[in-house]
Every structure is written in C-alpha cells, then in structure tokens.
Subunit: 376 residues, 2 copies
C-alpha cells in the first residue's frame, strides 16, 4: 500500500489524506512501488497513461486526461552536435507541467477535493487550471502581477480564478501559502503527486530509446519539477530491474538566479540566499526552491553537474533552434544552451537527452523583443 | 507511377516537375495509389509518417519531420452532447497546417527546390516556415499587414522572410501570385502535395476508430485545406477497401464570409462574389477560395451540408470548450459551434468527428478581448 512520508521527521500519512505537507512543515514524498509490463504498455494508446500501473491512482474512473503525453523524442542540433530532445512543449496547455497536473488533479478528484489553489509564474498555473476545468474542480491561481498576458489570459479562459500578486515571485509563494491554510494546495513544488506525473518523462524516454536509460539527462532546475520527476522515474525503473543504470543528471540554472548551483559547487547542505536578477529564463528563476536540497542531492547522487547559462547564451540557443523549426519559450532555451555547452568534447557514444519545456507561443512579447534586438 | 493532372484541361505532368498549377491556369490534382498495411502501420512510431506508403514521397531521406501527428482523438462536450474531437492544435507550429507543410516541404526537398513563397493569414505561413527551417529551404511568407504579432513573430523566428502586404487577405493572395511567377509556390490552397499531407487526418481518424470511417466529419471550409485533405484520405481508404463507406462531410463557414455555403444552397456551379465582413473566425474568412467548387462538390458528393455560424456562437463555443480545459483559437471554435448545432436531434448512434484546428496560444489578443467582453 502506498503512503506519504515526511522527508524531515519521518511521519507517515495515508494517501487517502488530503495533505500536501507534513504537520511538522516538512516536505512529503510518496512511497509507491510501480509495476511495468512492457507488453501491456506497448499495446496501449500513446499517452502518458500507458504506464497506468506505475501511476498512483486507485480507480481508473478518476483519470482526468486529454490524451496527453508520449511526446516526440526528436533529433536537433545544438552547437553543431546532434542530440535527442523531448518535445514537451507539445502538451495541451503548452508545457511539460501538464504531466504533473494530469496525475495531481486526477488524484485530487479521487480524494473528493472540490477546490484547489496553486501559484505559478505561468506554466504550472495554466496546466492546473486546464485539468481543474476538465475535472470540474474550482481553482484559484496566484501569479506575480508581472506575468505575461498570454499566460494569464489562458488561465482565465480555463475558468480559473486569477489572483495577481504585486511584487516578486517569492511574494506570490507567500500569498498562496496563506490561502493553502484552508485549501488543498495543488503545488508543483510541494505536492508529491505532481512529481509522480512528471516522472512519466523518464518512462517515455526509456521506452522511446528501446527500453533503456540514456547516459545523461540535461534538465532545468527552477523548482526542479521535471528534474525530480525524472529522478524518481529513472530510479523506479532501475529498482524494478527495467534498466541497468541511473542516468547522470545535469541541472541547469540561469546565472542570474543560481542558488542550487552555488550549493552544489560549494558543497553546502542548505540553499543559500542569492541576489536574484532578471533573466530571459524567468521560468527557472526561483530564489527559494522548496525542494532545493532534494535537487542538489539527486544531482550529486547520479554523479551529475550544475551548469549556469547567461542570457546571451539563452538567446543564441533560442535562435539556433528556431532556425531549425523548433518554437520554444526562452526559459526552455536555457536548458538547450547548457546542453550545447555540455556536449562539447563529449564522445559521440554518450547518449544524452534533453527537453523542450514550453511552447514559444507562450512568449510572444519576448520573441518580438528578441527580433527587435537582432535587427539593430 | 503517380502524376499531376489539371482539373480544367486534363493535361498531365510528372511529379518530378516543380509545377504547382497547370499552364492553362487550372488547378492540379495528384493521381496516386496509396498502399495501406495495417500491421506495418501499427508497428511504427506514432506520427503521421506511419502511413508511409500512402504518402507521395519517393525517397525516405527527403522526409522532413519533427515526429508530428497522430494527435489525440478525445471526447469533449458540445452543447451538452459528447463528440470526438481531433486535437490538431497540438502540432509543433500550433495548427493542423503542419500536416500539409510536412509532406509539401519534404516533396520540395525531393525536387531540389531551394526557395519557396507562401501566403497566409498566419497558420499556414507558420507551418511552411517551420518545415523550411528544418529543410534548410529559404522561404518568403506573405501576410496581410493586420496579421497578429504572435503569428508574425513566429514566422520571423523560424528565419523566414516576412512580407507584410497592406489591404485585404485577397490583396496578399495577389501579391504572392506575382512572386510565384519566379518561385515555387508552397501554397496550402493551390499545391496538391499540401492536401496529400492534410489527408493524414482521415487516416488517423480511421485508425483511432479501430480501422473504420466515422459517419460524419464536421470540418472548416476557408480554403478547404483540411476538408479536401480529409475527402481525399477517406476516398483513398474506401477505394483501397479499408473502409466500407464515405463519411458525410459537413462544411463550416462564418456567416460573415460564406461564399461556399451560398454556392451550395443556391446550387451554383461557381463561387459567388460576397461582401465579406470581419469575423472572430478570421482563419476561415476566405472570399475567393481557389478550390471553392472542389469543396462544394465534395460536400454534395458525400450527402453533406454547409453550416454557417455567427460570431456570438463562435465565442460561446470557445468559452464552452475553454471551460473543459481545451485552449483553441477562435477560428477553431467556428467549427465546434457548428458541430454543436449539427448534433442537436441527431441519434446517439451517429459517429461524428470534428477537429481543433489551431492553438489558443496563437490568439492572445482576441482572448483578452473576449475576457474583457465577458466581464462587462
């Protein structure tokens, strides 16, 4: 029987409890033993739900789905080198966050929850709002007042209640935590079920590579929603004997907001305070990631590394990929910029996989600025 | 051996000729006998290229692909009735036009073409620009000067040369026809290879329904790019003995721009001149569709119908779908509005399929206006 366990005090909770953090304030993780049946998986429709026995839902009738997932794993060039990139910008709401929302909101339905709150710089809010709409669960999405109109319009069209919070991204986090005292918090940072959705990224890579793990995955590290999901997924595959190794996890931060890279490099056991600056890669600019040390430990454990990229590199990678027909949001290009740098001097035999995290259509204002900038 | 044939004078051309219309000025169609091998199809990756032997390309090495297609066929409610909707907004460039661009630009590469021109109110231009970027084919995209910044930014990011034409959509068509005197015209209206890409919509529906044709398909009719593709696809499946019937095609126009509905209702053998008005469904507001009579004839032949919808209906359908978590562009909601009307009083046994044509992220300005409108 699966259960929730506190990473701080070790207390356990039933998965039937609508809790998203421990009473001690600690982070909850889900203890769960997935089952993989390759023959059954291969015979099912191509969505992330084909790994049904590896997803922590009791009753199929609670699955809320648009048929999402199983995104293409496609070759692109980064700095002249070929690499496989998983096109998670092609999810219904336009980002990989749909993986997490699909499992979390299905679980919320299973728990009988009628209303949730979530905070987001944009993408997670869109994903949660979309799934809540389909699940007929009311939701409030807290966003920084500076969030682009493209994202807030999407959230409101889904019928969610948009709460714009003046100030920084961290101010928004504080505002939602207050609301979460009385509501279920469908958080992409706190809620363990979200990560048991994003872990499907690892399953799909495994299947698309012919049921094997890659040598290396290069993933963004803001709140670590995808990175920790991939870590869980590959770890489950290894434990189940479905793969023979754990991929090395290379984490990417913007050099303008890199608390975790600092913790990693300086061998700290806490997330240091930083002086966060604006960056093109706003989606991963998280000064105080709640699962920060889990991210650093996952990278350490897999023998990985942290790379930080400048906005100049982000813009260059965005343009390089656009010129190959890939339209992604600037935050996504931070990861590809780092992947390009990572690949330099690596042997061709190293099987590396990275990701497009969000659609370029989410960032029209930034695209117009970049085009203007390059015309000068 | 496949060949191109003029629908006006009957002249034939080799598929190795880089022609897009007959010397007599007539429309060219592709004569081609596809092959369907269900076992081979089912064993391949889930993209539109799984129907390889039904796509008119000689050499696999010319295939330009992002792994696109095989979009989810998902149940949504329209006016309280359930219907299957194919989510073609989930293509890489954000619309079903990618189906056509994938085959046409691959064919252009096969023909050794180095530069193309195309005109578009937005979506076809984005699709052609994306595929040209990946194919390393230069392209110029002609758009009305009023095209939304979201679409023009996307076209320019792909590296295409954007040519903004003052005046109406028809002025843009005239401008590109002049350019097409000296360039290969990668037209989603003229070029027959485009329709042999959009026909994959029919193949996928057929496979997703368990290798059968639906009773009815409800499809937009601007230039008829998807409608004529679906007509070709279902006709090929019928001719190959893969299905037992032709679906009834129900065509949708905006009541503010409905020349084909008028031709159909008045039993005309030409496309009448109309007084086109602005509409939320700008993507299907085509006053002079070059394949207009082919569209009308396809609808007549299948025992179908034309439905016209008001902007009020379009907005209501857009909101109804957003509230179910589907984010589509307003043009796309013209088709779903008509589908809702079509379903009234139809027996539950009638198997109808419709489509989401383009992503809501393409239309942020319009979404903001609609939200504003509904707040008043």
């Amino acid at each position: 029987m699966p259960y929730l366990v506190c990473s701080k005090c070790g207390d356990k909770y039933s998965v039937k409890d609508p809790v998203w953090k421990c009473f001690c304030g600690g982070l909850l993780d889900l203890e769960f033993t997935p089952v993989f049946d390759r023959q059954a998986i291969a015979a099912r429709p191509h969505s992330m739900w084909r790994y049904r026995e590896a997803l922590p839902l009791e009753d199929d009738r609670n699955i809320i789905t648009f048929g999402e997932g199983y995104t293409p794993l496609t070759t692109f060039k980064l700095g002249g080198r070929e690499i496989l990139i998983k096109q998670d910008q092609l999810f219904p709401s336009g980002s990989y966050k749909d993986r997490g929302a699909a499992v979390l909101i299905s679980k919320a339905k299973e728990l009988g929850i009628k209303e949730v709150v979530e905070d987001s710089s944009g993408n997670a809010g869109c994903a949660v709002a979309a799934w809540c709409a389909r699940a007929e669960i009311a939701c409030q999405i807290f966003c920084p007042a500076s969030t682009s109109p493209g994202k807030t319009a999407q959230i409101e069209m889904y019928g969610a209640q948009l709460v714009l919070v003046p100030g920084s991204r961290e101010d928004t986090s504080r505002a939602v935590l207050a609301a979460a005292e009385t509501h279920y918090y469908a958080s992409h940072a706190w809620n363990p079920f979200f990560f048991h959705g994003t872990k499907t990224w690892a399953y799909e890579v495994w299947e698309q590579l012919g049921w094997q793990a890659p040598d290396t995955v290069i993933l963004p590290a803001g709140n670590g929603t995808l990175l920790l999901g991939a870590y869980i997924g590959f770890k489950e595959l290894l434990a189940a004997g479905e793969t023979q190794k754990m991929p090395k996890i290379v984490a990417v931060q913007s050099e303008n907001s890199a608390p975790l890279a600092k913790a990693f490099r300086e061998d700290l056991d806490y997330v240091p305070a930083i002086d966060k600056k604006d960056t093109l890669a706003e989606g991963i600019a998280i000064a105080e990631p709640v699962r920060g040390m889990q991210i650093v430990q996952a990278v350490r454990e897999t023998g990985g590394d942290f790379l930080t990229v400048s906005d100049t590199e982000v813009e260059a990678s965005l343009v390089e990929l656009s010129r190959q027909g890939a339209y992604i949001e600037p935050t996504s290009a931070a990861t590809t910029a780092a992947a390009a740098r990572y690949l330099v001097n690596k042997p061709p035999s190293e099987l590396a996989v990275t990701v497009f995290t969000g659609h370029g259509l989410k960032s029209t204002e930034k695209m117009l600025k970049i085009l203007e900038h390059r015309r000068r």
